[in-house]
C-alpha cells in the first residue's frame, strides 16, 4: 500500500513504515529508550534522504518520549530544576546543530557526517554497555549486590565553580557540566535525530551522580523539550520535517511501545542492557559497512533543495 510523502516527495509503503515504527516502539518500550537512534538509520536504509530522516526522527522522538515524561512528572520522579538547566544547554546545542546541519548539507557532506557520528557514538556507547552488562551479569551470577551509585566518590566535575543546589537530586554541583551535557545532547538531537537518552542517562549517573530514581524522568523531560525545539527549528530553517512520515512512525511507535514495555518486565535489567547493547552495536556495524563498502555508483545527485 503506497503513500506519497509530501516533503520527501516520494512514494513509500505505509505498511513497511508502520512495521518499522512498531518494531522500534516495541524495542523502545522494552528498553525504556526513545528509539530515535533506531528510527533515523532505518529510514536512511529505506532510502529516505538523510536530511529528512533526521528532522522527522526528532519529531517522532517527541511522541515516543512524552508518555514516559508525563508518567515521571506525575510520580514526581524527575528533577525539574536540573531538567531546566539541561534544557537551556540543549537549546543552545540544538541551534548550533541545526546551523552545522545546514552547512554540511550545502557542501554535500551531511550524509557522511551523520553516518560517522552514528558509527562513532553507537559503537562506543554500545561497546561500553556491553562490557558493563556482561560484568553485571557475571556478578549477579556470583550473588553479589551491585549499586550504580557510589555517593562517597567525587570526580573532577565536582570541583568546578558556579555550583548550584538541586534539591530533588540531592546534588550540589557546578552548572557548567550540566549546561555542557545539555548542549551536547541538543547538538546530537539536531544532527542525528535522536533524543540522546543513550548518552544522557549514563552521563547523569556516572558523571553527575544523579540518583537513579530521577535519572530517567529528568532525561525524558529534557528530551521532550529539546526534540520539540529541534523539530521546530529544522522545520523553520531546513524544511525537512515530513509530518506524514512522522505521523505514521508515531502511530506504529506508540502502539509498539506498550507491548515492548510488557515484554521488558519479563527480563532482568542486566539482560535487557546486554540485548540493547547488541542492538546498538548491530546498527553501528550496518552503518559502518555502508561507509566502507564500495558504493554501487560513485556518482550521486544532490537531492532537490540541497543546492
Amino acid at each position: 500500500m503506497g503513500i506519497y510523502l509530501p516533503i520527501a516527495e516520494m512514494s513509500v509503503n505505509i505498511l513497511v513504515l508502520l512495521a518499522m515504527g512498531g518494531a522500534v516502539g516495541f524495542l523502545s518500550g522494552m528498553f525504556g529508550v526513545g528509539g530515535g537512534f533506531l528510527i533515523t538509520p532505518l529510514l536512511i536504509f529505506y532510502n529516505i534522504p538523510p536530511a529528512i530522516a533526521v528532522a522527522t526522527g526528532a519529531n517522532q522522538v517527541v511522541a515516543s518520549s512524552i508518555s514516559g515524561a508525563l508518567y515521571h512528572f506525575k510520580r514526581g520522579t524527575l528533577d525539574v530544576k536540573l531538567g531546566m538547566i539541561l534544557l537551556a544547554g540543549g537549546v543552545v546545542g540544538s541551534s548550533l546543530g541545526v546551523y552545522v546541519f545546514a552547512l554540511l548539507r550545502s557542501i554535500g557532506q551531511l550524509d557522511l557526517f551523520v553516518s560517522l557520528l552514528y558509527v562513532f557514538l553507537l559503537g562506543s556507547v554500545g561497546g561500553m554497555m556491553m562490557v558493563e552488562s556482561v560484568r553485571a551479569l557475571r556478578r549477579s551470577a556470583g550473588g553479589q549486590v551491585y549499586s550504580l551509585r557510589k555517593p562517597g566518590q567525587h570526580n573532577w566535575i565536582h570541583r568546578l565553580p558556579l555550583k548550584m543546589r538541586f534539591r530533588t537530586s540531592k546534588l550540589f554541583v557546578s552548572v557548567i557540566p550540566v549546561l555542557g551535557l545539555g548542549a551536547i545532547i541538543g547538538f546530537l538531537a539536531s544532527i542525528m535525530g535522536v533524543g540522546g537518552g543513550f548518552i544522557m542517562v549514563p552521563a547523569l549517573i556516572y558523571l553527575l551522580k544523579v540518583p537513579a530514581n530521577v535519572v530517567v524522568g529528568t532525561s525524558l523531560f529534557q528530551i521532550v523539550f529539546v526534540a520539540g525545539y529541534t523539530t521546530v527549528v529544522h522545520a523553520a530553517t531546513n524544511q525537512t520535517v515530513d509530518i506524514v512520515l512522522a505521523f505514521i512512525l508515531m502511530i506504529g511507535g506508540v502502539a509498539g511501545a506498550q507491548y515492548g514495555a510488557m515484554a521488558g518486565q519479563k527480563l532482568r535489567s542486566e539482560q535487557l542492557r546486554a540485548l540493547l547493547a547488541l542492538l546498538v552495536i548491530a546498527v553501528a556495524a550496518r552503518l559502518a559497512l555502508d561507509l566502507f563498502v564500495p558504493p554501487e555508483s560513485v556518482y550521486s545527485l544532490a537531492p532537490f533543495g540541497e543546492v
Binding site: 517527541v62 522545520a235 509530518i243 556518482y299
Partner: protein, 271 residues
C-alpha cells in the same frame, strides 16, 4: 463601434494588397500552399495532473493527430512520432565519491544549470530506426542529447564528459529519464496515442509535452503543450505549509507528536 468596424474593413482591405506582396518577397511559400507540409497536433485530456496520497508513479496518455499526410507513406509506415515530456528546468548537482581513509565520501561535485528535472520519451519504434543519431544530436532530442550546461564553463572536457554521463545515468537510475520504444502507437493512419511514464518522484511544476513528426527519417514538424503537475488536496496543503508557514508547521508537527503520544497513553493506560 462604427470606428471599430471601419478599422476592421480597412485592415482586411490592406491585407488583400499585402498578401501577394509577401508571397512575391518569399517565392518558396507558394510551393507550400500547393503541397501543404505534414503537421502534428497533440491534445492533452487535462492540463493538470494531481499527485494524490496514493501516487506511486503513473502513465500519462497523450493523443495526437497528423495533418496533410501522404497516404502512400502512411501505408508504408514511414511516419514516426516522438513524444517527450520535459520536467521543469532546475540546477542539478552531481557528486563524485572517492576513498578517503578507507571511507567513501563526496570529494568532487559540479553543478549543471537548466537540467530538466525529468525527461520521459516515447517513440513509435526504437529511436535508431526512426532517424540517424546525427538528426537527434542536432535537435537535442533524446536522453543522450539533452543539452547539459555546467555552471562552471572552464571545466575541463574530460571531467565534464564524466559528470554529464553520470548525471544522465543517475537520472535514469531514479526513473526520471525514461525512454520507451513503442510508447507511441498509431490508432489509425493519422491518429496516435503516446504513453509516457511518470516516475513516483516526478517533480512538481510546469512540464512541457513536445511531439515531433518524422517522415522517412526526416524531421517535418513539431508541436508542444504545457502540463502542470501539482500535489493534490492534503499533499499540496502540507507542502505549502512546510514551505510558506514553516514555523507554524514545525509547531504543529510537535503538537501532533504530543497529542499522539498522549493518546497512546490514554488508550493503553496502565497506571
Amino acid at each position: 463601434m462604427v470606428f471599430a468596424m471601419f478599422a476592421r474593413i480597412l485592415s482586411a482591405w490592406l491585407a488583400l494588397w499585402l498578401v501577394p506582396a509577401t508571397a512575391l518577397a518569399q517565392p518558396h511559400t507558394d510551393r507550400l500552399i500547393i503541397q501543404p507540409r505534414e503537421s502534428i497536433q497533440i491534445g492533452l485530456s487535462t492540463d493538470r495532473v494531481a499527485i494524490t496520497s496514493d501516487f506511486s508513479g503513473a502513465d500519462l496518455t497523450i493523443f495526437g493527430a497528423l495533418e496533410n499526410i501522404d497516404p502512400l507513406v502512411a501505408r508504408q509506415g514511414r511516419y514516426d512520432v516522438v513524444v517527450v515530456l520535459e520536467g521543469p528546468a532546475r540546477v542539478s548537482v552531481v557528486r563524485r565519491k572517492s576513498r578517503v581513509l578507507g571511507m567513501w565520501m563526496n570529494t568532487e561535485w559540479h553543478s549543471f544549470v537548466n537540467v530538466p528535472a525529468s525527461y520521459s520519451m516515447a517513440t513509435t519504434r526504437a529511436p535508431q530506426d526512426i532517424a540517424t543519431p546525427e538528426v537527434y544530436r542536432q535537435m537535442a532530442l533524446g536522453i543522450d542529447n539533452i543539452y547539459l550546461r555546467p555552471a562552471d564553463p572552464t571545466l575541463d572536457p574530460e571531467t565534464l564528459a564524466a559528470f554529464t554521463a553520470a548525471l544522465r545515468d543517475r537520472k535514469r537510475a531514479e526513473g526520471l529519464f525514461v525512454s520507451r520504444a513503442g510508447g507511441v502507437q498509431f490508432l489509425s493512419q493519422n491518429m496516435f496515442r503516446a504513453n509516457l511514464a511518470l516516475a513516483p518522484s516526478v517533480p512538481v511544476g510546469v512540464h512541457r509535452a513536445r511531439a515531433f513528426l518524422f517522415k522517412q527519417g526526416v524531421f517535418v514538424g513539431e508541436t508542444s503543450a504545457n502540463l502542470t503537475i501539482s500535489k493534490a488536496g492534503m499533499e499540496q496543503y502540507i507542502y505549502n505549509a512546510a514551505r510558506n508557514q514553516s514555523l507554524l508547521y514545525g509547531l504543529f508537527a510537535v503538537l501532533l507528536a504530543v497529542a499522539t503520544g498522549w493518546a497512546g497513553r490514554i488508550i493503553f493506560r496502565k497506571d
